[in-house]
């Protein structure tokens, strides 16, 4: 399979200095925090083709713009991975909202204008998910840590805490795929237990929700434990960096 590599200058992670990178990323993300670009696109579209629902079409246009900006930095395979997760999240959010509106109208009442709001939430999730991960991956935590090991001054403590916090957040992102691999070996169907010999009767319909609830609790505990597991070693490493600077320059503030 031929791999297409985007030119290095198109990749946001290569942009220097850091403040320019930050400025470009904020500029790309501006349509996600302000309604103004969507409004301008909607008005433009309605002028161009009067019968077009501009405000609806503006949403996918902005989403495509964000994806196009993220694509060179992420590459096709990674963007598709992120989009798979974003679509899952967006669809479950919107569908659960729509279903509960029908089932429990007293709890989740809505009118026709709310359909547009749900659509906006849908496209917002599709755009923000890959964007925020591109944003995070554009700044290497360890580069920050490398700088901090050399830093002198009053911000060094804050910087080290920030570096540790960011690394832990990255680690949380690694735990879930690891658990998925273990889960798949145990339960290849993912939502059904591998060993279910007694599940040929009607009563198995009742067992499935129990199994799912227990599985959710198990996942929560496994996620917490695997997230906490490397913390002592990471803390030890950061403390050593802290101590090494203390011993190098005890008199500097």
């Amino acid at each position: 399979m031929n791999r297409f590599e985007f030119p290095a200058f198109l990749k946001l992670q290569n942009l220097r200095p850091w403040w320019l990178k930050m400025a470009v990323l904020i500029l790309i993300g501006y349509p996600l925090i302000s309604n103004r670009p969507a409004g301008i696109i909607a008005v433009g579209l309605e002028k161009l083709v009067p019968e077009t629902p501009g405000s609806v079409l503006a949403l996918p246009i902005i989403t495509f713009f964000i994806w196009a900006c993220c694509l060179p930095s992420l590459g096709t395979a990674k963007l598709l991975d992120y989009l798979a997760a974003a679509y899952t999240m967006a669809i479950t959010t919107v569908v659960s909202g729509a279903v509960l509106r029908g089932l429990l109208p007293a709890l989740f009442p809505a009118d026709s204008a709310d359909n547009f709001r749900l659509l906006r939430v849908y496209f917002n999730i599709l755009a923000v998910f890959p964007y925020s991960l591109t944003f995070l991956n554009s700044f290497a935590v360890s580069n920050l840590m490398t700088r901090l090991t050399k830093t002198r001054g009053r911000f060094r403590d804050a910087g080290l805490h920030l570096a540790l916090a960011l690394r832990i957040c990255q680690h949380v992102g690694e735990v879930i795929p690891k658990l998925l691999l273990v889960w798949r070996e145990e339960n290849p169907d993912m939502l059904l237990p591998r060993c279910r010999d007694d599940w040929h009767s009607i009563s198995s319909l009742l067992r499935w929700p129990v199994w799912i609830i227990r599985s959710i609790s198990q996942w929560i505990f496994a996620c917490i434990i695997l997230t906490f597991e490397p913390i002592p070693v990471m803390v030890n490493e950061i403390e050593q960096i802290d101590e090494s600077r203390d011993s190098d320059a005890p008199d500097k503030i």
Binding site: L32, I33, S34, N35, M89, A90, T92, T93, V94, S96, G97, L100, R101, A106, L107, F108, P109, A110, D111, D114, R117, L118, V121, N124, I125, V128, F129, S132, D157, L160, H161, L164, A165, L166, I168, C169, H171, V172, I176, I220, F221, C223, I224, T227, F228, I231, P232, M234, V235, I238, E239, D242
Partner: protein
């Protein structure tokens, strides 16, 4: 709550709980169209952080974890969430104080107060503050007192799930844990070759 002796250890645990709050908040989301908000189960970790690590951790986990999740899909709620969820964690931590796993009364009162503060806080924002802000900044013009009233019930269910889940997790995590001091440094004590 454990006395955390390392400032970096505290940061690491708070960061882990913040990330887990963001993940669980994003995982199960049911939109409430009337207020443009959504139902979620992220409160479990906010209550847990308040009970386990105290008010400061509770505030950081609640404010940042939930605000990060709001950024994906519901950015207009970031300011309200930052304050309301932050206060939820802070209040839980303040009331729980240094209660160990032996007594359940204080933790339960703390968790219930935290949950109630979340429901009340969102009502305050949705019924009064956002409509007021909406007059100046159109972005916030998304809700009104009637819609806020409708959202009370889903928010109360969310609060209840947070209280029950948070207490259950806290109980499981602290069961049997006592602050044994690790003995002084010992040399390697095996067979020497």
């Amino acid at each position: 709550m454990p006395r955390i002796k390392s400032k970096f250890a505290e940061t690491a645990v708070i960061a882990a709980l913040t990330a887990l709050t963001a993940v669980t908040t994003m995982l199960v989301r049911v939109p409430i169209p009337a207020t443009n908000g959504y139902f979620n189960i992220g409160d479990v970790f906010i209550i847990l952080a308040g009970l386990w690590l105290g008010p400061r951790a509770g505030f950081i986990v609640g404010a940042f974890g939930s605000a990060i999740a709001d950024a994906i899909g519901f950015p207009v709620y970031i300011p309200a969430t930052f304050i309301v969820k932050g206060c939820e964690g802070w209040l839980t931590g303040i009331i729980a104080g240094n209660s160990g796993p032996v007594s359940l009364t204080r933790p339960v009162v703390a968790a219930v107060t935290g949950g109630l503060s979340m429901v009340a806080g969102y009502y305050l924002f949705e019924a009064f503050i956002y409509p007021l802000l909406g007059r100046q900044i159109p972005m916030f013009n998304i809700t009104d007192p009637a819609a806020a009233f409708i959202a009370l019930l889903p928010n109360a269910i969310q609060g209840l799930s947070g209280i029950v889940g948070g207490l259950a997790l806290w109980k499981a995590m602290t069961a049997g844990s006592q602050n044994h001091e690790i003995s002084d440094e010992q040399p390697f004590s095996g067979k020497h070759g």
